[in-house]
C-alpha cells in the first residue's frame, strides 16, 4: 500500500511538470508523423502510388474521348491526369509522368461515317518497362473501342440507316466488357505491385514502433529525475528514516517508472492504430505483452539512471545516450536487415531490437502471440540485469 502511495506521489510530481507532456506525448507524436513521412519519400517516387501516371491531353473532348477516358481510368494500374499538352510534355521530361496520351481533335469525328476512330498518340520511353506496360495497357481498350466503332459503322452501312450506329456500337462495347477486360486488368495490377517495401504497405509500420521504443527511453528524463531529486533534496533519506523498508522504496519508484512508460507506450500504440492505420490490435494480447515487457525493461533502466546520475543534467545525458545507443542498434530508425553484417548481428542482441522485432512481427509479418515470446523473454532478461545493477548501486548511496 505504501508502495502504491509512493508511486502515486512520483506520478503526481511528473504530471505537475509541464515539460513531461512535451517528452511523453507531444514530441513522440510529432516525430512519428515526421519519420513516417521521411520513410515514405525516401522510397522511389513511383512507389507511393504504384500506378503508372499518364498525362491525358484531350483535344477532342467528345463522347468518344470520354468513353476512352472512362475505360482507361477503370484500370487500377493506370493513373490518368488531365493536362494541357505543353505542361504534359514538361511533366514527362521531369519524370513526373511516364507517358503522355494525346487524343487528336478529330478523334471519333468521322467515326459514324467512315469506320475509323482516328489515331491517338502515346509519347513514352518505349524501351523502359513502364513504357512497355503502358503500351500494353492502352492497346486493348483502344482497340476494343475502335472495333466497337467499326461494328457500329458496318451495321449502319448494312441497314442503310445511320441511326443504327449507336445501338450496335454500345452492344459491341458491352460484349467486350463481359468477356475480356476484367481479366486483363487483373494481370496488369499484379505487375504494378510486384515490389513491396521493407515497412510493408504502411511507412508507419516502421515509424510508429520505432518511436514507441525510442521515446519510452527518452521518457526516463522525467521519471528518473524524480529519484535524483529525491536523493539531492534528502527526501530519500527521510523516506529511509520512516518505517519504509528499502525494498519498498525501490519498488515504489520502479512502479512509477513502469506505469509512466506503459501509459506512454499505450498512448502511442493507440495513436498508431487509430490515426496512422498501424495494425497493432490485430494481435491485441501480443501487443499488450510486448508493451508491458518494454515498459519493465525501460523502468529498470530508469532506476539505474536515477541511482547513478548526480544531477538533472546527468539524467538527461544518460537518457539521451541510452536512447541513441539502443535506438541505433535496435533498428528503430532503420531495419537491421539493411545494415552491415556485424552491426546487425550485434544489434539483434539488444533489448530494443527485441521490442522492435516483437512489434513488427505483429505489424509487418502479421504474426501473433507465438511470435513474441522470445522478444519478451529477452526484454525481461535485460530488465533483470539492469535492476540488479541498480539495486547494487542503491545500497551504496551515502547518507
Amino acid at each position: 500500500m505504501r508502495i502504491l502511495d509512493l508511486a502515486t506521489k512520483d506520478l503526481l510530481q511528473i504530471f505537475r511538470d509541464k515539460k513531461s507532456f512535451l517528452f511523453l506525448a507531444a514530441m513522440p507524436i510529432i516525430f512519428t508523423l515526421f519519420m513516417g513521412f521521411a520513410y515514405n519519400s525516401g522510397e522511389d517516387g513511383a512507389e507511393d502510388d504504384a500506378r503508372i501516371s499518364v498525362a491525358w491531353v484531350d483535344e477532342a473532348d467528345n463522347q468518344f474521348s470520354e468513353l476512352l477516358f472512362e475505360r482507361l481510368d477503370e484500370n487500377t494500374a493506370l493513373s490518368l491526369v488531365d493536362m494541357e499538352e505543353a505542361s504534359a510534355m514538361d511533366a514527362l521530361a521531369r519524370g513526373d509522368m511516364l507517358g503522355v496520351l494525346i487524343i487528336p481533335s478529330a478523334f471519333g469525328e468521322q467515326a459514324e461515317g467512315t469506320s475509323a476512330l482516328g489515331q491517338i498518340t502515346l509519347v513514352t520511353d518505349t524501351l523502359s518497362t513502364e513504357g512497355q506496360s503502358l503500351y500494353q495497357l492502352l492497346r486493348v481498350p483502344v482497340s476494343q473501342l475502335a472495333s466497337a466503332v467499326e461494328i457500329g459503322t458496318l451495321t449502319a452501312d448494312v441497314i442503310g440507316d445511320s441511326a443504327e450506329f449507336s445501338p450496335a456500337f454500345t452492344l459491341a462495347l458491352e460484349e467486350w466488357d463481359e468477356h475480356q477486360s476484367r481479366s486483363l486488368v487483373r494481370t496488369e495490377k499484379a505487375v504494378a505491385q510486384e515490389e513491396e517495401s521493407w515497412f510493408g504497405d504502411n511507412p508507419y509500420n516502421q515509424a510508429s514502433p520505432g518511436i514507441v521504443v525510442q521515446f519510452a527511453i527518452i521518457g526516463l528524463i522525467t521519471s528518473a529525475q524524480i529519484l535524483v531529486e529525491e536523493r539531492k533534496n534528502r527526501t530519500l533519506q527521510r523516506l529511509m528514516s520512516t518505517a519504509m523498508r528499502t525494498w519498498e522504496i525501490v519498488a515504489g519508484h520502479i512502479l512509477a517508472m513502469f506505469t509512466l512508460a506503459f501509459l506512454q507506450i499505450a498512448l502511442l500504440v493507440l495513436f498508431g492504430q487509430w490515426v496512422l492505420d498501424v495494425n497493432y490490435l490485430h494481435a491485441p494480447l501480443a501487443t499488450l505483452l510486448i508493451s508491458a515487457a518494454l515498459g519493465i525493461w525501460v523502468a529498470s533502466m530508469g532506476l539505474l539512471i536515477g541511482v547513478v546520475a548526480k544531477s538533472d543534467d546527468q539524467v538527461i545525458l544518460f537518457s539521451m545516450v541510452a536512447m541513441f545507443f539502443f535506438s541505433a542498434l535496435g533498428g528503430t530508425w532503420f531495419p537491421l536487415d539493411v545494415s552491415a553484417g556485424g552491426f546487425a548481428a550485434f544489434g539483434r542482441l539488444m533489448p530494443s531490437y527485441a521490442a522492435m522485432n516483437g512489434l513488427q512481427n505483429i505489424l509487418i509479418r502479421g504474426l501473433g502471440l507465438a511470435s513474441i515470446w522470445q522478444p519478451v523473454a529477452i526484454l525481461m532478461i535485460y530488465a533483470l540485469g539492469f535492476f540488479m545493477l541498480a539495486l547494487w548501486r542503491f545500497r551504496k548511496i551515502g547518507v
Binding site: D5, K9, N233, T235, Q237, L239, S241, A243, R245
Partner: protein
C-alpha cells in the same frame, strides 16, 4: 527505561573519527540537547539513531528498541527532522504532510485529522494549499518539523531546526518544541546556539570533534567553569607584554587571543577589571572595548576546548 540511550557509539569516514565513543541518554519526556560547533559530529550521531548510517561500534536504543537489531520498531517510535529541508517543493504543504503521513502508515480519516492538527501546530493552516517551493525559509522549516510529528512519535530528533531563519519563526519553533515536550514527547535537539540549548534542555551534551566533552544539566555544566566570568577585550595594538602581565594578574585563570579579541576568564570582574586597566596603562596599551559575560554555555565550551563555540 530511557527513551534514548547511546553507548560508545562510533563512526568514522576514512581517517576522520566523526563520532568517537559517544555516550548520552534521555529519560522519557525529557529534552536533551546536543550542543556543538560545525563538524562536531551531531548529524552523524543522529543519522545512526535514525537508522541511516550503520555504526562502526557501540549501541543505541530508542524506547528500548535497538536501532541496529530491530530498526523497524525503533523507527516506528521515532520522528526525524533532518537538518536539510527534506520536502517536495512542487507539492503543497498539505500534499507533503499527507504523503509523509502515509509513509508513516497513517490512512483515511485518521490521516486527515492528524494533518489538520499538525498544520495547526506549525501555524500554516492558512497556507496549506500553497506549494512548498514558494514558502519562506522559516515556513519550510516549520513544515519540515511538522512532517516528523504526524505519527505522534515517542521520540523526536531535531537536527538544527532553526538554522538560517527569522527570529519570529525561530520563536515559533522553540515554543512548539516546548509544547510538544509538555505533551510527553522526548526530544533530542541539536544546535550550535547555546541560548537554545539553555532555554529548552533538561540535559545538555556538549560535543566537539566527535566526542561528548561534557554532559549534565545546564546548572551542572556552568559549575564546570566555576563562577567565572568571561571578559572580551579589544586593544588598539597587538602586545605580548600586556598578555604576560594579565596572565599573572590575580583572579585571571585563562587568557586567549584570537582575531584581535582577547578573551579572559576571571573570578570576579568587579575586582579584576581595574587591575587589567592598570596593567594596560603601564604597558601603554589602550583598551578600546569591553564585553563582560557572566558564566554561560559558551564559556563552558571555551573552558573545555580553548575555542569559541561559534567561529
Amino acid at each position: 527505561m530511557n527513551a534514548i540511550e547511546v553507548k560508545n557509539l562510533k563512526k568514522s569516514f576514512g581517517d576522520l573519527q566523526a563520532v568517537d565513543s559517544v555516550n548520552f541518554a534521555a529519560a522519557q519526556g525529557e529534552i536533551l540537547s546536543l550542543l556543538g560547533p560545525n563538524g562536531a559530529g551531531k548529524s552523524t550521531a543522529i543519522s545512526m539513531l535514525a537508522g541511516l548510517l550503520v555504526p562502526d561500534g557501540g549501541s543505541a536504543t530508542l524506547m528500548g528498541h535497538s536501532v541496529t537489531a530491530d530498526p523497524q520498531a525503533a523507527k516506528a517510535s521515532l520522528g526525524v527532522v533532518p537538518q536539510d529541508i527534506a520536502l517536495y517543493p512542487d507539492l503543497s504543504a498539505r500534499e507533503n504532510l499527507v504523503f509523509w503521513g502515509k509513509m508513516y502508515g497513517l490512512r483515511g480519516a485518521a490521516l486527515n485529522q492528524r494533518v489538520d492538527k499538525v498544520l495547526e501546530i506549525i501555524g500554516l493552516s492558512e497556507r496549506q494549499k500553497d506549494r512548498i517551493g514558494k514558502f519562506s525559509g522559516g515556513m519550510k522549516r516549520r513544515v519540515n518539523i511538522g512532517a516528523a510529528l504526524l505519527h505522534k512519535p515517542d521520540v523526536v530528533i531535531m537536527d538544527e531546526p532553526t538554522v538560517g531563519i527569522d527570529p519570529q519563526s525561530r520563536r515559533h519553533i522553540l515554543d512548539n518544541v516546548k509544547a510538544l515536550n509538555k505533551q510527553g514527547m522526548t526530544v533530542l535537539y541539536t544546535t550550535h546556539y547555546m541560548e537554545e540549548a539553555a532555554e529548552l534542555s533538561d540535559h545538555i551534551a556538549i560535543m566537539d570533534q566527535g566526542k561528548v566533552i561534557a554532559f549534565g544539566t545546564h546548572a551542572e555544566l556552568i559549575k564546570l567553569v566555576g563562577e567565572q566570568t568571561r571578559i572580551d577585550l579589544t586593544l588598539n595594538t597587538e602586545s605580548t607584554v600586556i598578555f604576560d602581565a594579565w596572565r599573572n594578574t590575580q583572579g585571571v585563570s585563562r587568557i586567549d587571543a584570537e582575531n584581535g579579541t582577547v578573551t579572559l576568564l576571571v573570578d570576579d570582574s568587579n575586582l579584576v577589571l581595574p587591575r587589567l586597566f592598570e596593567a594596560a596603562a603601564q604597558a601603554n596599551v589602550r583598551i578600546t572595548s569591553v564585553d563582560i559575560q557572566e558564566p554561560n554555555l559558551e564559556s563552558v565550551f571555551l573552558h573545555l576546548t580553548g575555542r569559541a563555540l561559534r567561529d
